[in-house]
Symmetry: C3
Subunit: 304 residues, 3 copies
Amino acid sequence: MDPLLRNLINVHSPSGEELSMKQFILEYASGHAKSWNQQPEIIKGPDFQDCVMLAFGKPRTAVFAHMDTTGFTVRYQDQLVPIGSPDVKGGETLVGRDALGPIKCQLRLTEDHEIFYDFGRAIQSGTSLTYQPDITYGQPLIHSPYLDNRVGVFVALKLAETLQNGVLVFSAWEEHGGGSVPYLIKYLYENFQIKQALISDVTLATDGVKPGEGVVISLRDHNIPRKSFIDRICVLAKNSGIPYQIEVEGSGSSDGREIQKSPFPVDWCFIGPSQHRPHSASETVHEEDVKHAVEMYQYLLQML
Amino acid sequence: MDPLLRNLINVHSPSGEELSMKQFILEYASGHAKSWNQQPEIIKGPDFQDCVMLAFGKPRTAVFAHMDTTGFTVRYQDQLVPIGSPDVKGGETLVGRDALGPIKCQLRLTEDHEIFYDFGRAIQSGTSLTYQPDITYGQPLIHSPYLDNRVGVFVALKLAETLQNGVLVFSAWEEHGGGSVPYLIKYLYENFQIKQALISDVTLATDGVKPGEGVVISLRDHNIPRKSFIDRICVLAKNSGIPYQIEVEGSGSSDGREIQKSPFPVDWCFIGPSQHRPHSASETVHEEDVKHAVEMYQYLLQML
Amino acid sequence: MDPLLRNLINVHSPSGEELSMKQFILEYASGHAKSWNQQPEIIKGPDFQDCVMLAFGKPRTAVFAHMDTTGFTVRYQDQLVPIGSPDVKGGETLVGRDALGPIKCQLRLTEDHEIFYDFGRAIQSGTSLTYQPDITYGQPLIHSPYLDNRVGVFVALKLAETLQNGVLVFSAWEEHGGGSVPYLIKYLYENFQIKQALISDVTLATDGVKPGEGVVISLRDHNIPRKSFIDRICVLAKNSGIPYQIEVEGSGSSDGREIQKSPFPVDWCFIGPSQHRPHSASETVHEEDVKHAVEMYQYLLQML
């Protein structure tokens, strides 16, 4: 298992608190860019909040990978409020930090589906907690919290190694209603005339898409991308020779939703591995699917 | 019954797949514009995806008519996923096309409200299906699928014949969460300083509005337009002498929703015929209401 | 009790009909600005619909106070449709005006939670009704309808007296899905490079925040603002010496929602008094909390 993925999983960055992941990506880029085929322009600063973009060459296509994860906010007393939609069964180990120091506590789930923490002291209201990183690599399966979307970020950073033309976009708040894609896509459209976006994320394994059977190309989820763009991608995917699966769903969402609803005419398509137990403390992906995702992005960024 | 409406109904264009309707409108305009009072500027291209606008004179008001319809996407095996909110009872004939050729199948509805197709062969995942066009004209009532929004497009194209100043906007994805109105209204505001929009669509017949009793002017649905704009329209409508009805609802929506929520200060109002059985395979409108809709738009585009 | 708050409560301005409140604010500003430390630029006109902004000095921070209230629209016969989410128990006195003159009627609530009016004559469809102003000042508690958000507007207008640098933004439609914040924030970002917004509104009293225990600073509600901005505010609030309480919720919303989802990178934080019985005909706030809200805004607008 690639140490980069391990390192990504160890970063604490629930929605609204993506700063640490931004810093990780900036440090990774500054440490590795010299070995990349092309040196990217790094787009960051107060006009991009905690987001960051790496622009290579003359970009025609943007790849979005969200940096945030689900998590929990400490309310009052021992109550927790979800960030995004974590899927808990009770007993999960949560970690975080408040003014009094580091926190490692247990999640308690009541019969009324209310969530609490058990810890030796009170945790400051507003503190965010996330699942403790706990990675099991039983080749070829990777079990870990937050593969959604450490895998999507991983795919984007692998793509950076060989990318000629394209922008890698690291977005925020995807798990909790969004809020960064609107200004990111505005910048991309106004500065690079970007009209094509691919969403590097993970999707739910179903009766139609299964881990180990190829990277998933989603024709629709709750949102419906423009058919002519999807059709182009399917033709290219077929020609690529890379294993892939087609997804058709009526629910589920991604950064594609905010691109769709933005005041910019940008086509989008979700492409990424499928996984079991999304948003749980032990998501599962198949490492071959991750490899094929990287290959598919490499191919599509050239051809689109 | 006007053959233009028949021809519009025969076009396959569920949300996300409006290309055929765009082409129909472009061909219609190129074939008929010579007989129109004024030659429009045709606004289209990659910055407008599958949407198209016809701008006449010095526009002060935009008329939005959505080109898409509800429909169904083939999931895996014989499963269907709705596009928008089709209202089915089972047994409807659906049509479409995949790589293997044209499709004409039956919709099957289970007791659990799940939907499937019955067809002699498997249909390719991601294929879109729509109700088979089946028009019954029992003067004065028109029964057909997709009067929502072929009627709204029809009204806009009739308006084109005499329009002096105004933009006809043919939008996409209205039935399924939107996604084109934001960039269309951006263009209209930035290029024509448009601050007034009318929504040419059809609305549900209720205890308050009834087919045959005039075109409906909606004071509100789920969304609340600015009162001062609505009041101006009501005064004009009264002065027009054209039969109309007032609608006040707490639910329902239209392209007005996305105009309302856009970052542009554009007033909007829904104006169109009422209908029975919306989103079913047999919607019903009264042809006099359609005639009065055209007249009301002609009047308002002059006066606003 | 300050007569300004009384006067604000007497204005009829349900969502979509904020014109009277805009006029009130403009008249108030024109009558009082001479006694303010600084003369504001008044930003208004057709590009801002019924909204208005007062810009002081070189603004770094915007304060949003929504001008609209919940209310009711007359449907057909004696039926009412809610504007926003009024919380009624039946028997409330509602007021409004239609073409036939002023209206003062009673709200009737059925067992099916449907709402009607009882009045001696039919009220014109589309007429808006609001709770009759009925203020009880039992020092230190203020009981009245529409403290949400007359209190928030009051705080902003008090802030105007001493404000050096900042913009006071009076927004519309907050109670009913929004629609003005997107173009207001666009203007603020493009013209003043505003990247910081505070939301002057009232919030629900809970087990965590209680009237009389200080102005509430919300770390999150249904929406999650950026943690680094919230953290800065909490440090400043602590240093201010002004009584305040921390809120952490999983539900509830404000103008912050639309700032979050806008295509502009603007941080936001809710700051305002807590109240009992939100959206009822008798909301309750503690006047000390209002005083501390004004003080907190004065402090933060200097320090941020």
